[in-house]
Structures are given as C-alpha cells and as structure tokens.
Homo-oligomer: 346 residues x 2
Amino acid sequence: MNITILFGGSSYEHEISIVSAITMKKVLKKSNLTYVFVSDEREFYLVDTDKINAKLFSSGVYKKGKKLTLKKGGFYSDTLFGSKIVEADVTLNLIHGRDGEDGKMASLLAFYGMPYISPRLEASVLSYNKLYTKFLAENLGVKTVPYEYLAKDDERKIEMSYPVIVKPVRLGSSIGVSIVRDASELDYALDVAFEFDTEVIVEPFIEGVKEFNQAGCYTDKWELSLIEEPQKEVFLDFEKKYMDFARDSQVLEAQIPDELKTKIQESFKTIYDPLFKGSIIRCDFFVVEGEVLLNEINPIPGSMANYLFADFEAMVHRLSKHLPKEPTIVINYQYIHSIQSAKGKA
Amino acid sequence: MNITILFGGSSYEHEISIVSAITMKKVLKKSNLTYVFVSDEREFYLVDTDKINAKLFSSGVYKKGKKLTLKKGGFYSDTLFGSKIVEADVTLNLIHGRDGEDGKMASLLAFYGMPYISPRLEASVLSYNKLYTKFLAENLGVKTVPYEYLAKDDERKIEMSYPVIVKPVRLGSSIGVSIVRDASELDYALDVAFEFDTEVIVEPFIEGVKEFNQAGCYTDKWELSLIEEPQKEVFLDFEKKYMDFARDSQVLEAQIPDELKTKIQESFKTIYDPLFKGSIIRCDFFVVEGEVLLNEINPIPGSMANYLFADFEAMVHRLSKHLPKEPTIVINYQYIHSIQSAKGKA
C-alpha cells in the first residue's frame, strides 16, 4: 500500500509532527511510504523516505527536494513535459496543531478528492477547540471536567476554587498550559496562555487524578486499542511530550476492572461515531469517584498512538479501505435552464 | 480595488452561487472584478467578467476559459514560460452551501495566505451545521427556536407537537426542508431530508411568525444593515429563493419599535463578534412574544445581502482593509536542535 505521510505545517507543533512522521517508518514497515513535508511557509516538499531525519528540517536541507503542488487528485511535481503525480492509495494527515488538527488539511484533501486518514472538517474544528469539545461531549451525554471560559479582553476573574489548570482553547501538547495554585498566580498563567490564543478555558486541577488513554477507529468494525494509564507527573511538559511522540513499541495495558474498561470504551465510541469516522484518535479520560470524564480528544495523536495497538499497520490498511466518502452532488443546471426558458432566452 | 469573486462549487447551491456572483457585477461597479469559477468537478476556471452570464455555465462553455491552480498567494494560470498570478487585493467567497459555507474555501484561502472575505474555518463549521449553531447560540446566551435532533438511523419519533419543520442539518436555501402538519406526514418529510443529509433537526413550525433579517460586519466599526421583514409565504421554496439571490436594489426598512430593533442588533453583534470577523453574514431572527430568537445564520447570504445596505461596495472595500489575520508562528527548530545536542549528533 502506498501511504503518503503529510507532516510539518505552520504550527507550534511543527517539530513534534516531524518526530511523529519519522516514527512512522518504524511502525509502517510493510507499506510504501512517501513523505510530504509542509514547511513553515506552507510550501509542500517531497522528502526522500530513505534519508528522512530530524536534521534535514532544522538545517533547511529539505528545500533541495522537489517542490509539490496540490491539485485535483493528489500532489504533483513539475517535470520537463508537464507534471507527475505522487502515487498514493491514502494520505495520512500527521500535522499536529494548526493546519493539521484545525481542519485545514482535511479541507484540502477533501476538496482535491484524495482518500485520507484524518478527522474530517467538522470533527477537526470540534476537537481542536477545547470549548467546542465541551459542547460536543455535553450534547452526546459524555461527562467532562467542569470549566470556565475566558476571552482575552474579559475580566480576569474565575468562580471555581484553586488549584486550577489554564489551557489555551486551541493548542495541543500542553503548550501554554499552566497549573495555578492560588489567585496570585492566575494573572501570569493567563498572560502565558494568551500568548498562544485569544481564548482559554480554566478547569479544576485534580491532584493525582487517575488518567486513562483510549485510542481507536472504526473500519468495518470497532478497533479499540488497549487502555493505557500514562505515567503520571504533575503534567507532561512540552519536552517530555515531545519525546513521547517518538514512541514505537507497545505499552502495557492498565490493570482496571472490566466495568471501568467498558465505561471508557463506551465513552470513546460515543465520541467517535459517526463524527470521527476516517480517523484514528486518542481520547484521554479522567476517572473521578468512579465517573469517567472526557479530558481531551487528540484528533491526531502523537505518533498516531501506534504504541497502543497490537498491529497498528494492519489497522491502517483496513481503515484505508473504509474511509467515509463525501456524497456526490450532481449539478444539472435545471434551475438556470428553467429560468432561461421563462425569460425566453433558452 | 481588485476583487476576485469565487463561486460555483460542488454544492446543491451551485446554481444560486452563479446567480449571486453575476449580481455582484451590478453592485460592485467601482471595483475591478475577476471571476473564478469552481466547477462541479472542483476545477478552477477564470471567467471573463465582460461575458459572464448564467448560460456560460449551464452550456459548459466556461471550460474554454483558462484553468487555474491555487498555490501560495493566489490563483495561477499556466503561461508559456511558467505561470502568472491572478491579481487580487481580496477574494470574496461566494460559494453557497458545501465547499463555500462548510469551511473548505476558508481553509484553502487561509492556507495559501490570501486575504479573503468569508467566515473563517470555525465560524463556517459552526454556522453551516444547524445543530452546532444551536450550541454556539446557547453558549453565547442568544435564544433559539427549540429543537429536536434525529440521525438517519434513529427511531423516527419526536416529542414536540405538530406542526413542525424538518431541516437537514447542513443545507441552506430551504433544500430538503418540509413543514409537517401531523404525525402521518413525518416519515415522508424525513425521507426527503435524509436524501440530503444524515442528520436533521426538527423545530416547531410557528404559523405567521414575525421574521426579521439583519446583516452586517465589523470593519473598524460596526456596519449593520437595515432590518428587513421579508415577504412572508409559508416559507420560500428553492425557486423563489433562487430569484432572491439576484436582488440588487435596497429594500425598505421594517417598521418596528426602537427597542425591538436594538434587541435584534445586539443579538446579531453577540453572534458575530469575534467568531465571524472577516465576513458579511445575515442572521434571520424570529420574534415570538416579544422575544428575539435566532432562526438561522447565513454565513454567505444570497447576493451577500447587498440589498440591505446603503453602500454595499464601500463597506466591502473597508472590510477588505480590516480582515483578521492568522497569528504568525515562528519555527526555530529549538527542540530538534536540543534533542540532537543531547544525543551528541548536533
């Protein structure tokens, strides 16, 4: 199977996307991988699969590769006598953060009619924005952590008691996130968060909360990963998360009662179906007093959460054969014809 | 000012987009207009502004025009010695329905760094989907008509009493919409709606409800249109709406008390700011027992609701100078550098 890995992007998570992308070489061994890099300038470059490494990008050497143009049906490179398509059975959107998770890549790939693994447009917008994720979960009956919302110009006042956690509404990978232990620290935390976004949400910070991660997708059946209880630090900072994006070997399953496991799986399915069809996502849940709360949806998880699956590659191949399709719209110009007839101009 | 009018699209509203686009010639007289047509096959074509008419598209003659490619900074046509950009100060997204209102065009234009008038990505997704519009309005404290939601495979049962109105979640221009007078008609109305979408909302149908339309935008100040009380038929069917998209002369202002006018204007501003910055939208409100209820957001209204403004063209020019910009993200490869140093590979 020819898989195009699309990575990079104009995103604060550009660099971790590179790490995720390189990790794919270790976990998609039986596939024929093509790497398409989206530079910080949003130009597309073909990257040699044999030579891909992080330094290629930090050094700027990638610019010596072929520039690509996205057109109907795929990526094209210029040739002497026209242009040549980059062969792909499917494109894997691995751009974390802006461009990738916000719905832009989903839009581009859908518009140009390319089969792709990624949350679709609506799913992207609803999961990239943490406030909208709350709306979604609430509507689906999935409980979330309580929250307050603040825009940049709002009065800097919150109702809930400390400690709290402040998160920019639109970023992933803990960028701009702070734990605030008392009111005196709030201002600084908001300054930090508002460096990255115009809106934030504030949630209670629950010390030592049990966290469980569930990834999965729907092919012609549910394909749920094992459930991981991630190693607990206060919370993962950017550099730790960064290294996390290079994970490529399967982790141990969390030892939890069947009842809890079922609750987590059911919450995942409720979120996923039908909005996230076509994507492999990871949901992070908190368990508080026996209740499963959705903490976050990772619409394009680090290294695609490959380490949570027994056979990630086989699942990617199955998913590629079960991607949702946009309905076909036939345009027959019936109304223009009828109006022209009415006008006597037909 | 050079304005590119982007219209057509793979949309049920493809034909009314053509009508809207042609209408722009009559209302943007002082501007230098360039027409870029998105065919049903999602190919871009340059259309001669002097010769544009509806028949050009229904006859397929547009295919004789220049094909364009969207790349960084704009639309390009192939020339003998490379390619040439279509000069534009701003692009006006006039694609109604799918591709235009769903966020795809906003994504493409944002990704390629082109200044554009249109709801941005998030605003598109939240207003194109009538269910998400409910979430949004609720969160902003703007009242809406009560509703029930049904997916295609759900049991066909509703709680509210008849008559009701059944609407596909994602379409505009009354496509797939039915009024249902009693339970015996529900099944057929749902069949019709599910022809166009996998999800519907059902709302009470309020006979003779007062409806008021408010359009506007924010440039460096609020620019609100007059308020129209649209001519009332049971509801506008597709052909009536179609003709509506060709409107180009200013309508009469609704004669309503100042208090109601203020309520409508304030509701509009609450919905618009900040999510819809960069766009000219029209909100349709119902007034029920003195309460203003949001009925619908028209993210790309027919003929841009030009007929509601005293000087539409001047406003378009002002808006073009006050478009929101995506924040710049500087990528310095700091993490890749630091990890390479740690590995001793730098």
